[in-house]
Structure formats: C-alpha cells, structure tokens
Amino acid sequence: MDFFGSIIYGFQVTFQPINFLFCGVGVLVGTLVGVLPGIGPAGAMALLLPATFKFSPTSTIILLAGIYYGVQYGGSTTSILVKIPGEASSVMTCIDGHQMARQGRAGPALGIAAWGSFIAGTISNIGLMLVAIPLAHAALRLGPPEYFALMCTGLIIVTYLAQGSVLKAVMMGLVGIILGSIGLDLISGFPRFTFGINELTDGVGIVPLVMGLFGISEILENLEGSLEREVFKTRIKNLWPSLKDWMEAKWAIVRGSVIGFLLGVLPGGGAVISTFVSYAVEKKISKHPEKFGEGAIEGVAGPESANNAAAGSSLIPLLSLGIPPNPIMAIFFSALIIHGIQPGPLLIRQHPDLFWGLVASLYLGNGLLLVLNLPLIGIWIKVLEIPYKILFPMILLFCIIGVYSMNNLSFDLYVMLFFGVVGWLMRKFGYEGAPLILAFVLGPMLENALRQSLLISQGSFLIFVTRPISAIALGFAFLLLLTTLLPHFKKRRRQYDQFKE
C-alpha cells in the first residue's frame, strides 16, 4: 500500500463507529482530566484501560491517544482561569495566560491556546507519518547493544531534565529498575524479590504504581492543607483571537511546534520539558521580553503548541523502536502488551490498521477538540467550581476502580496505597516520580538487552563502544552526565580559590 493509500486506510479505520466513539470519548475524558487536578493522564489511561479489554487494540490505542491529547488541551483552561496547572505540561501557561485573564483577555488566551494546540498537533502528526516508518525500517538493524544504549540515554535524559536534584533523579531511576525486576526472571523463569508473596510473581503492576505515585500522593498532598481555590470570575468573550493576536502569536506557534516535536521524539523528552524550552526561547528572542509575565500572548501560544506537538511526536520512539520515551508512553506500551501487541520496528508492518488508524485518529481528535472544547468552555469552568470535598472522594474511587479492575485483586489496592504513601513522602523529600516510572518500564527491557549483549560479546563490555550507534548514544549520555557535574566542580574550584586567598 502506498503512502496516501495508507492514510485513506487509516481514516477508514478511524471512522468505524466504535473507533470514532472512542476518539470522541478519549478527547472529552482527557479534557476533563486536564481540567481537574488529581488523576493525571497516566491515571486516566489506567482507569479506562480495563474497560477496553473486550475491544480491539486499535480502538484502545485511539482512546488512550485521545486522552493524552485532551489532557494537553484541558490543562490550559485551569492554568489560564485558576492559575493552577491541571497538568505539569501547563505550568508555563499559568504565567502569561492568567495575566491575560486578569486583564479581561481570557477569551483570546483560551482561543490561542486551542488554535496553537490544533496547529501544532497537525504539524506533529505529519512529522509522525514521515519519520516513524523510515525509523522503524532502520530499527530492524539494531541489536541488543544499540537498544541498551538508547534506553540508557533515555533514562539519563529524563534524570538530566529533572526539575529538582539530578542525583535524586538518578537514584529514582535505579529504584525503578529494581522495582521493575520484581517477579519472574525473563531468562531463567524463576521468581525473584517476591518474598514469598504469590501476587508479586507477575511483578508490580504499572497501574497501581502509577495511580499510587501520582494520583493518591497528590490527593494526600491536597488533603494536608486548605482545599479552597479561587476560579477567576470573568465573562469569556472573543474566543477567536484578533488579527493582532494572530500576528503576535503566529511564529510562537510555529517555533513551539518545532521545539515540541523535536523534544517529544527524544527518549526522555516529552510535553513538560518542551513547554519550558518554548517559553524560554520566546522570551529570549522577543523584542519586548519585559511583557512576559504581564500577559504576553506568545507566552501562551508557544508552550501550548509545544506540549501538543510533543504529545504526538513522543509516539514515534514507541511505535518505531518499541521504546517508551516518557511515563505516559510507558502506559501506552503496557496497553499494547496487554492486548498482545509487541511495540517495535515490526509493529507498523504487522499491524497497519493500528498505526494508520492511530495517525488518522490524531487528526480527528485534534479537530474534535477544537470543535467541541471551545463551545464547551463554560462547562469546563463549571467543573472547576466543583468543591474539592466532592471531587477528592470521586477521584479516589476512580483510582480504586481502575486499579481493581485490572486483575480483580485486592492486593493491587494495597500496592496502590503503599506507593501512594511512598509518592507523598517522595514529594516531601524532593524526589520525582517520572524517572522511577520510566525506569520501571524500561528496566526489564534494559536487563534483557544487557544480558543478551554480554552473551553475544562473551562478557566483553566493549560491545557497547565498538558498535557506532550504541557508542554515539552512550557518548551523548556520558556528555550529559558530565555537564551536570561540571558546575559542581567549578563551584568547588571557586570555593577552593577563595579559601586559598
């Protein structure tokens, strides 16, 4: 099938009633989750995953992609109107978006966020189609050493881009690898680290882990203090940005799309990081940087475009290499495995309906978000006004249902609660959950690749530096680690010089 034939085939798959319905439900649920702080995209995906068991893998992936896209849209609403980011990827939108709302320009802020997301999402989809297939072909020539090196690089990028201490992020990555090794050994088939608990033979489930670390811990954190939040009361008008707004925002949208796309493809990159980079770039090259923080429309357009572009492009390493580049893609990865599909270079060839159906659904989802969400903005504002005392029990109940219905085991609820408390303490002590989750998913693959590589090389670690791709990837990772250590050494040197003087 040629390229355009494949696209048409993809739309035929997407427009099947069940897939169309799942796409619509996905974007609506995603927007709702993005508006509400607490569940998060990973939690929402995990919640609906068990409900998809009787449907096809294509429908499931379309639903999950819709949620992921919708979350990026929904997060901007809370950022602009409440100055609370519904999701981490909307943090930067708070700065100028909320200022615009305070100046009576909530409409243009919401409008440009939606349009920027739509344009960036479309650009990202085109990139996905163009890059994923050649990359999958190239990936067929990769062996265990290359996979090991790429996964290591991904983990190091995640820790490098951690918002807090890099040292703590690396530690969390290692904890993730250890947690990922619980259960049956892939090669010998013997259980390890199960401590005699039968339920651990299959390992720790990703759903209770994610729900605990992100969902339950956030609820516990919210329960600590005051639960009041103020929704900025304003009449939302002029959702269609003016010509002046468009002129100011157009290049920010383009730059945000490119930055988001590139950072989304990188293992370890993702929507959150791209928004920070996009905002920094916009401020840096702006002729009026002093307006940033005071309601500059570029400060909304850039990050909102970047997070949607990254959401699309982060599917590339998953679908073509089989490597989830961030924790959300790790849920996608698990969903595919649960449905009996191995993500990797052969996925596009063996399951064209899934790949092209997903690509077409991204176009459809993008359009649906724009068509549905701007008129529904009043409903999302009403949702924001639901008191937390009503919301938090419901969020907890959804977490419980999502976790329980995976395996119908109460044990999974205990696991969720355990990691909920661990996640809450991690927040308190300044540890991040993202490197842990990614390492947890990559851990077994990483171990497999390492052991296979050592078997191939008969115990020589040189195999990782004598093969060009793995050498480049590991060299890049090493340089990244070095750049994190350099400032530390420079500071020590300065302290030593001062002491000598």
Partner: protein, 151 residues
C-alpha cells in the same frame, strides 16, 4: 532540607544494602553468563554509592534556618483517616461486595470535609456508588466482587 536529605539517603542506603544482599543470594552469574541478580546487583550497588554521596553532600551543607519543618501544618488526622479507610476498604470489599463497601467508604470520605450539609453525605455516597456501578460494572463490564449478600 539538610536533615531530610540525610534521612532519605540513609533510607535508600538501607534499601540498596538489602537488594544487594538479595541479588548475591539469588546469583549474579558471570559476565559471560549473567544471572538473575546481575542487573539488580549493579543497580543496588550504584544506588548505595549515590545514597552515600547524597548523605555527604547534605552533611557538609549549611542548614537553611528559614526553612519551616516539612510536616508543619500537616493535617495528620485527615490523612491518616483516609489511608485507614482505604486499607479497610481493600480488606472488606471482597467480603461485603462492591456496593455495600463502596457506599460506606464514600460516606466516610464525603463526611471528612463536609461540615455543614452532613445530612446530604449518604445521598452523595449513594449516587456515587450507583453511578460507578452502572458505568463500570453494567456498561463497561468490569468485574466487581458480589460479596456475602450476592450484590
């Protein structure tokens, strides 16, 4: 943050020692033929070293006196109550069934923060329980436990 980093680094050091010892017990194999404890042996070893680095870093750092205690102002009773309710729920749900146990749990959770309209709490709980049962059990075919009473 100094004390917190010291405490947490010691915790992770302890974890790394336990995993390290267990990795040795289950067998790390050889470099030519790695065993099932090989990866965790390496990961726990590095974790242990990094924990020590963090501990030393925190020990030489000056304490920021302006920083308020981490758990100051935390509403312990509220958090403890929610965790206890969820733990008991996980235990009794297979016995009592989804409908009864969820109704009781939701009544407790809605009741924690509701001070004024306490009489509406059972109504909220009933609506939440029936709504989720309808959506997830009836429409989406999720399997919830029926319990002693068969529902």
């Amino acid at each position: 943050m100094k004390t917190l980093d010291q405490t947490s680094s010691l915790f992770w050091l302890l974890v790394s020692i336990l995993v390290f010892a267990e990795s040795l017990r289950i067998g790390i194999g050889t470099v030519q033929n790695p065993g099932m404890g090989f990866m965790t042996f390496g990961a726990s070893g590095i974790l242990g070293i990094l924990s020590l680095v963090l501990f030393l870093q925190a020990s030489v750092r000056k304490e920021d006196l302006r920083q308020k205690p981490l758990f100051a102002g935390t509403l312990w009773r509220r958090i403890f109550f929610v965790l206890l309710a969820l733990t008991v729920y996980a235990r009794v749900m297979p016995v009592l069934g989804y409908l009864i146990s969820t109704f009781v749990l939701m009544t407790l959770l809605f009741g924690i923060l509701e001070k004024k309209r306490i009489k509406f709490v059972p109504l909220y709980a009933l609506v939440a329980t029936l709504f989720t049962h309808l959506v997830f059990s009836k429409w989406l075919n999720c399997q919830f436990p029926h319990g002693l009473f068969g529902f």
